[in-house]
């Protein structure tokens, strides 16, 4: 127990006096996961609307595939992206950069975000769609009405996607290379891969402290999102 308590203290003194290493590591974490989510979200929203509201053969199979892909192990995604990016071609220069990490996180979180969005759209009562249709809405307007009704589910999808991205270790470790420059600033090192380094060195206390820093920051993100969500509920 003593060690865990020490880690909490270390975490809060780190947060109170962040050094360049910690700040740059936090920045890389949020930049990579944030960009991955921003790229994934609109595409997933459009795809989810098409899947949930459309009628086409193979819909059940597609949903099954999406749900299965939610269980993709991050190391497997990392290795696949590593092998793809190491093929000679225009993408070869991307390996060991934050952009490669964005790619692997996109692969990792899109099924999750898409799956949650589809479920939340399907959860919106069919009567909402019918009502909109009766009121003279065209197909696009019906879709928009349903998406608006499902916005809480979309928020959950975004939060879950961001959460998986920022907490993920395996794929960013492999395709980013966990690089920090010799001057102590992060290039492709995230909070999670910094935890790997500290734990590898046996600095469990520091490793745990980094984990606590990560959780505190994700908590802050959720508080902000919760605050943004509230006016919507009042409407």
């Amino acid at each position: 127990m003593g060690e865990i308590w020490d880690s909490f203290q270390a975490a809060f003194s780190l947060l109170a006096h962040p050094d360049r290493y910690l700040l740059s590591t936090i920045l890389v974490s949020f930049k990579v996961s944030g960009v991955a989510l921003l790229l994934c979200f609109p595409v997933s929203a459009a795809l989810a609307a098409a899947i949930a509201l459309g009628r086409f053969p193979g819909k059940g199979t597609l949903k099954l595939l999406i749900r299965t892909a939610m269980g993709l192990p991050s190391v497997v995604v990392g290795l696949l992206v590593l092998l793809l990016l190491s093929e000679a071609g225009p993408f070869k220069g991307l390996l060991w950069t934050p952009r490669a990490m964005v790619i692997s996180q996109l692969v990792l979180i899109t099924p999750l975000v898409l799956g949650v969005m589809v479920s939340s759209l399907e959860g919106v009562s069919r009567r909402v769609a019918e009502a909109a249709h009766v009121l003279g809405a065209n197909r696009l307007q019906v879709a928009w009405t349903v998406v608006k009704e499902a916005r809480a589910g979309f928020l959950t999808a975004g939060v879950a996607g961001f959460g998986r991205a920022i907490a993920e270790v395996g794929s960013v470790l492999i395709v980013g290379g966990n690089i920090a420059w010799a001057d102590g600033t992060s290039y492709t090192r995230t909070l999670t891969t910094a935890i790997v380094v500290e734990s590898r060195k046996g600095n469990f206390e520091t490793a745990l402290a980094f984990g606590i820093v990560l959780l505190v920051l994700v908590l802050c993100v959720n508080l902000i999102l919760g605050f943004l969500e509230r006016p919507g509920e009042a409407r």
Partner: protein
């Protein structure tokens, strides 16, 4: 000597000027990175060449596989037989000895297999196996893991059974697990020194740095990815890095690097009588 040094410095400088915008990717083992040695070397290299080095710290086996896929420019690793295989297959070229340290066998202070003070690692391994005392292997294709397998082979034992456990972890985590379960393990001396205070483990068989078993010698080699196989890799800059690592300046940084007052690596690149076997596979016949 001074003249040669200056000439080498001039060439390095000229190279540095022409390569300012380039990048260099080095795959290496966790022991060189986690100790902080590579940061010390790379700071000096960045000053000389204006190039920041991307360090990918993985096990020796993984580092060599990355080289084989042409996604790094050079490797700094420690498993000579494996290095020789990649050299012989032509993935890597221009190997140079850089430095060495040594492995030590560590175990719980109670020493259940009674191996403390033995001078031969093979005899210690035989007794550990005979006593069925717990042994924790890295099992991760790292340089340390390869050396452990070589020692078992030299001891004539195929390890297995419930006493032989595989962690799949890095050196630091492996030491902590061995300490918690009271197991013997093989470790590089550097990591053991850095973590000793948190461990309930003692050195039971010494390596050659302290006059122990020469089988526990741990030499590190640097090699460039073959530009004939991967023309898009930065071969010139990789060779500049190898030159820097094996230069008086690079070797001095290695010699002066200490943790808790103890040196972790001993430079070997500058020799009175150069031994060219460092460049090519050991069984190579031209």
């Amino acid at each position: 000597m001074l003249k040669r040094f200056l000439a080498a410095g001039g060439i390095l400088f000229a190279l540095g000027m022409s390569l300012a915008a380039a990048e260099l990717v080095l795959a290496t083992t966790t022991s060189t990175y986690d100790t902080g040695l590579l940061d010390a070397l790379n700071r000096a290299f960045a000053e000389l060449f204006g190039v920041k080095v991307k360090v990918i710290a993985v096990g020796t086996g993984a580092a060599l596989e990355l080289a084989k896929r042409g996604v790094v420019d050079l490797v700094l690793v420690h498993a000579r037989p494996l290095e020789d295989r990649y050299l012989a297959e032509g993935w890597l070229i221009n190997r140079r000895d850089v430095m060495f340290n040594d492995f030590v066998v560590v175990g719980p202070p109670e020493d259940p297999a009674g191996v403390k003070g033995l001078t031969a690692a093979t005899e210690a391994f035989r007794r550990i196996a005979a006593a069925k005392a717990r042994f924790l292997s890295r099992g991760d294709n790292s340089g340390t893991h390869f050396r452990e397998m070589e020692i078992w082979e030299a001891a004539g034992i195929e390890p297995g059974g419930k006493w032989y456990l595989i962690s799949g972890k890095g050196m630091g985590e492996n030491l902590i697990q061995a300490s918690l379960m009271g197991a013997y393990t093989l470790t590089d001396r550097g990591t053991f020194i850095a973590m000793r205070k948190n461990l309930d483990l003692e050195i039971v068989v010494e390596g050659p740095v302290k006059g122990g078993d020469p089988l526990l010698m741990n030499p590190y080699g640097v090699m460039a990815v073959n530009p004939a196989r991967f023309p898009d890799r930065n071969y010139v800059l990789a060779m500049a890095y190898i030159g820097f690592l094996t230069s008086p300046q690079g070797q001095r940084i290695i010699a002066e690097f200490t943790v808790e007052g103890e040196p972790l690596f001993y430079p070997t690149a500058l020799k009175a009588d150069p031994d060219f076997s460092e460049y090519v596979p050991r069984d190579w016949r031209g």
